[in-house]
Assembly symmetry: C2
């Protein structure tokens, strides 16, 4: 059974400061827990509903069996899952040499956990290994981010850095791209093999403090035959399209 | 002020059956309400918080001023907006001739309102005018779908049809595409100008009853150098990438 203290502790992991203090995070759902168990992440323990046969168990790890009412108390979902895992966070060290000759992403204050999670999932699909986030970006270990990654969180290294520090380090070596209404048609632009793709905030786009480091403004062409069209793409959809175009040129 | 009856009525619009019965839906948020007011949709009335200066008001429409506690009672958001609108739904009539020589989307049981809304927003961006949905797909006037469209709901015609009825009608005239793991590399595939892009359910993919109508299986290439990579893309991200590739060929 889960003790009251353990329930309190697990619930504290819903807040960034306790995740950072304890270097632990909560993942919920059979598929995600099973994917994380297969990855290089260390599981602290799993919580599984009594009587439930969890098929994703593929390594030795402490298991706490408990009833559905205790699970409800720690779940962040409307329909709580029967399997949860407490995993160690990864402390990624950023080195410029790791992102040379590669495509990497830079999240400029992404706020929506679903968007960051989906961006990580997309990066993993395309083999993008590094995502740099400003400190204003939502925490990668937020339970809703973890949920939206669908297990991809283990395959991508996410770094939190100050924008100025990061861009000064890479200056000259890697071309920095961002989408702007006045940008060049991405389908017809020359795209470099060493690239940072900047993803702007959902409402405000790319911030002033990041904009000055953009080497090339690009644009995903839209229909322009009507004034009544949506003026923007969802941040994670735009990321998917830009990543796809970079990857297409390489293969 | 909002009467108790009106609050009850507006809340009833959160359910599909009452939206269909009354042919009305609720939109929440300054930007969305303002976009819908600029569109061809008819507004029944707006609800605006007392003292709030709504700048998106660009046509004559009944306005009900009310206090923030009444707004809280009808809002579907954690942070209720100060502006809401009740709009008439559009009864779209589907004709095959409308989708000839165009790219259209077919949603095969999309469940997540955020995904459907984002797909509509993406379609609008690329000038895709028609989206056909199976009856199992989430309702386009679900408040969370409306929210995620960011106003694009007015620019795209969404039709609910039985899969078999739809595909029999278009048979032979329009190429039907779907993404499958065993599909052809989309970047290297011949893509037709008259196309239906099928989007599968988030968990189950393209259903058996739709699969048999697929003319060409395509695939978004992923990195294949590791077993620990996410096995899928988010439905709306995949849609964005496939739409982008179709549009790129045209321009």
């Amino acid at each position: 059974m889960l003790s009251k203290n353990k329930i309190k502790f697990i619930n504290s992991l819903k807040l960034r400061k306790y995740r950072e203090k304890n270097r632990l995070f909560l993942a919920e759902g059979e598929k995600i827990v099973s994917d994380l168990l297969s990855s290089n992440l260390n599981a602290e323990y799993l919580i599984i509903e009594e009587g439930f046969n969890f098929k994703g168990l593929n390594k030795k790890v402490e298991i706490i069996r408990t009833d559905s009412s205790s699970i409800k108390m720690i779940s962040g979902l409307k329909n709580p899952s029967k399997v949860m895992g407490i995993f160690e966070t990864i402390q990624n060290k950023f080195k410029v040499s790791d992102i040379i000759n590669k495509i990497s992403l830079f999240c400029d204050s992404i706020q929506d956990p679903g968007n960051l999670g989906t961006i990580i999932r997309t990066a993993d699909w395309f083999g993008i290994e590094h995502i740099i986030c400003t400190n204003e970006t939502v925490d990668v270990y937020n339970p809703k981010v973890v949920q939206a990654t669908m297990g991809a969180i283990a395959g991508v290294k996410v770094h939190y850095l100050e924008a100025a520090d990061f861009f000064k380090q890479i200056s000259g070596d890697i071309q920095v791209y961002g989408t702007f209404l006045e940008g060049e048609n991405i389908y017809k632009s020359k795209l470099s093999e060493s690239a940072i793709i900047v993803i702007g905030n959902e409402g405000k786009g790319i911030s002033g403090k990041v904009k000055k480091y953009i080497d090339k403004k690009i644009y995903i062409p839209c229909r322009a035959d009507s004034k009544n069209f949506s003026e923007s793409l969802n941040a994670s959809v735009a990321t998917g399209i830009v990543c796809s175009e970079f990857v297409r040129r390489k293969i």
